[in-house]
């Protein structure tokens, strides 16, 4: 199988990885044929964004393994395709000292390590007097705590790429990086994506160093960089090390460096994404206080990974290797959005919708169905074929103590139920409208799904008022057409949007059918086929059912 290595560098890289994990969970088909190696690189050991992403990745991995590991082993299949949680995650850092949980062992040698100590500024031997003098000419060597030499690197590089690049220069000598290089085979069409921000310290310095480290060893590697431009702005703080006012100039410097240096020679595609109207966030220099809300920019950055892996041309591509996305050109389409801040799935282009966003909607429906109709009820109706054939009542009663693979079904169901909360939280953050004046809202919100709503209205659509506002000139005609449509639906007693648990239950039952060796059901034995593990069957029918519902237009994605 092809491998996809994704370096999420710094806080932004981690948050993009979080969004990317949601795309993987949704079963976005571009990743079907890949083994995914997420690698979180952050010097800040206590970064809350890092912990959250690592936990999410582990949760994903547990769900994938519960559903598919036994089936892949027994069927000797080359991976899993067209399923939720289909892509298999691999932890390159497992077994490496200081690694594990997808975290690159990249951290200060001691607590509160200062940059001056890291470069040995105070311990140059006599024969390196000239070097010492050179260093002191580059950096302010006064005793003030806010100078670069005195930077406490416990929480990363605090937006100083000139410090980060020094530290990152050593990354190629680490065991984990060597392990990555031994796994990465460009001849196998393996790919690498490096994600980070250009306006901070860790990402801006890490991206070129990692790209160079790869190309110095591998010939013609498929490497892409997702370069995130300013999209959030921490509230200002007196004497704070991070100043949003410097983000643009730092980004320009980084872009200028990338342009003038040979950095872009190492990269096949460069994706840029940012937001001209950054979202204001609470001030944090890192550590356990850095836990930013998910942002539309991060979702778009994750979609860029899909674009790279699928090999599609970007819609704004002019033949160069650069792909630029922002909310006023490719995605930011309707005039209404220039003065308003909320986007809907229908605001995206059809390619983005069909290749990525529809799968997120399908995942939302599936997770809601599993949580509300399977996991939470005390007992399930054993009239349902899938409940009886999969023995779900006994499995749910037995929990994780189940035998003969029942624990796997339990792991899958309880994992999905837990992931429901993660997905809901992520989508709420993306659509965060603010909390009065204390916590500002997103400057650009994206309304995907509200999982607390009924299934038939789970996708957040534009309201009729929104549509009228967008098309004021067509108001009268629209009213006539909408009225006629409604009347026809009422007269015929039918509606195309009637997705509910009853429908999904019916499709779950009917999906367990005898269709030769492809079907899960053996009519002659009135049971599942012997080589069809129940956890895999459940995962498979769940995916198919929701996809069918979507394909048949049962999912309402717009009001008109």
């Amino acid at each position: 199988m092809q491998k996809l290595f994704i370096f999420g560098i710094g806080g932004t890289g981690e948050r993009v990885l979080r969004s990317f994990t949601m795309l993987l969970a949704a079963g976005v088909p571009a990743f079907d044929n890949y083994e995914i190696y997420p690698i979180i690189v952050d010097y800040d050991q206590k970064n809350a964004d890092k912990d959250r992403t690592a936990k999410l990745l582990m949760e994903y991995q547990a769900i994938h393994n519960a559903a598919f590991s036994r089936h892949v082993a027994s069927s000797k299949a080359d991976g899993v395709k067209e399923q939720f949680f289909a892509a298999s995650l691999h932890d390159l850092t497992a077994g490496v000292e200081g690694g594990g949980n997808f975290l690159f062992p990249f951290k200060p040698a001691s607590d509160h390590e200062k940059f001056r100590k890291y470069i040995g500024c105070d311990a140059f031997p006599k024969e390196l007097n000239e070097t010492e003098a050179f260093i002191k000419s580059l950096y302010d060597d006064s005793d003030r705590p806010d100078t670069e030499l005195n930077l406490d690197m416990t929480v990363g590089f605090k937006g100083n790429p000139n410090i980060g690049s020094v530290v990152f220069n050593n990354i190629r000598t680490t065991d984990t990086f060597k392990q990555f290089l031994s796994n990465f085979d460009p001849n196998n069409n393996d790919k690498v994506v490096i994600i980070g921000s250009l306006f901070g310290g860790t990402g801006a310095s890490g991206i070129p160093e990692i790209a160079k480290a790869i190309t110095s060893v591998k010939t013609n590697p498929e490497v892409a960089a997702v370069l995130v431009l300013p999209y959030f702005a921490p509230e200002s703080k007196e004497n704070g090390a991070i100043k949003a006012s410097r983000f643009n100039s730092k980004t320009k410097a980084a872009v200028s460096f990338y342009e003038s240096s040979a950095m872009k020679d190492h990269i096949k595609r460069c994706y840029y994404v940012g937001d001209f109207t950054p979202t204001t966030i609470p001030y944090s220099e890192g550590g356990d206080t850095q836990k930013n809300n998910a942002n539309l920019v991060e979702l778009v950055a994750a979609m860029m990974i899909e674009n790279f892996v699928s090999g599609r041309k970007g819609i704004s591509s002019d033949g160069s290797a650069d792909y630029k996305f922002s909310f006023d050109s490719n995605i930011y389409a309707n005039s209404r959005q220039e003065s308003h801040d909320r986007l809907y799935v229908t605001d995206f282009d059809d390619v983005s919708f069909q290749n990525v966003l529809r799968y997120l909607i399908q995942l939302s429906i599936a997770l809601k169905f599993v949580r509300d109709e399977i996991y939470e009820p005390k007992s399930l109706s054993d009239s349902r074929s899938y409940v009886s054939l999969l023995n779900l009542n006994e499995i749910l009663k037995g929990g994780k103590e189940g035998k003969n693979g029942q624990d796997r079904v339990w792991g899958f169901i309880s994992g999905l139920s837990s992931f429901y909360g993660k997905l809901q939280e992520w989508m709420k953050e993306l659509d965060y409208e603010g909390n009065g004046t204390t916590i500002p809202g997103q400057s650009h919100r994206i309304a995907l799904c509200d999982m607390e709503r009924p299934l038939d209205s789970i996708v957040v659509c534009k309201t009729v008022e929104d549509i009228k506002e967008e098309n004021p000139q067509g108001g009268f005609l629209n009213r006539i057409i909408t009225g006629a449509k409604t009347a026809m639906e009422k007269t015929s007693g039918s509606s195309r949007n009637n997705l509910d648990a009853d429908f999904l239950n019916a499709r779950m039952d009917s999906s367990i059918k005898d269709n030769g060796s492809v079907g899960h059901y053996d009519t002659s034995k009135n049971s599942l086929r012997s080589d069809h593990e129940p956890e895999w069957v459940l995962a498979d029918i769940l995916y198919r059912v929701v996809k069918e519902a979507f394909d048949e237009g049962k999912v309402k994605i717009s009001e008109n």
């Binding site: 109706s381 054993d382 009239s383 349902r384 074929s385 409940v387 009886s388 054939l389 009853d502 429908f503 239950n505 019916a506 499709r507 039952d509 009917s510 367990i512 059918k513 059901y521 009519t523 009135n526």
Partner: protein
């Protein structure tokens, strides 16, 4: 077929000569065939009507199955009671009810028979007629047995056809 109708043949009324004439001829046969047809038809309606809808499982439940089971019993009961036993007061020549057969048998047996025998047959004929009108004689055991048979056939057919449906594989139970 009298094997199925032990309730009827064990009935005291069975000793009367008129009964074997009808029941051993067509009564039991029509009873079993009717019960079978009722069981099959209702099972097919349930499984291929209620359990073959890919868009809804509202009617594909054990409760609905049980209602169909009950309907099979009720239809079987009234089929036996109304069609096969019939109303002694409104019999029509050409029908195959026991009440009609009772009349025909009386007419055939009394042709040219001695007066004593006619009188005896008349007495039995009238007694059967009178008992049937009051719900007695073999009316109840025959009807209830036919109802049970209809239920039984419904159940057996259910077990056979359920696996061929979209949503009824576990109704009334998963196995066999």
């Amino acid at each position: 077929m009298d094997f199925f109708y032990f309730l009827v043949t064990d009935d005291n009324s069975w000793e009367l000569l008129f009964h074997p004439n009808y029941f051993n001829g067509v009564g039991f046969l029509y009873g079993v065939l009717g019960a079978f047809a009722i069981g099959v038809v209702l099972a097919l309606i349930f499984y291929f009507g209620c359990c073959n809808n890919k868009d809804s499982v509202k009617y594909s439940t054990k409760s609905i199955w049980a209602i169909f089971l009950l309907i099979a019993g009720v239809v079987g009961y009234f089929y036996a009671d109304i069609v096969l036993i019939g109303d002694p007061d409104t019999t029509k020549p050409g029908t195959f009810s026991f009440s009609e057969a009772n009349n025909q048998y009386y007419i055939e047996q009394t042709k040219g028979a001695p007066v004593e025998k006619v009188s005896q047959l008349n007495q039995i004929h009238n007694k059967i007629k009178s008992d049937l009108k009051k719900g007695g004689d073999v009316r109840f055991p025959f009807a209830i047995t036919t109802a049970v048979l209809a239920i039984l056939f419904y159940f057996i057919v259910s077990l056979v056809v359920k696996r061929f449906t979209y949503t009824g594989k576990a109704i009334p139970m998963l196995k066999p």
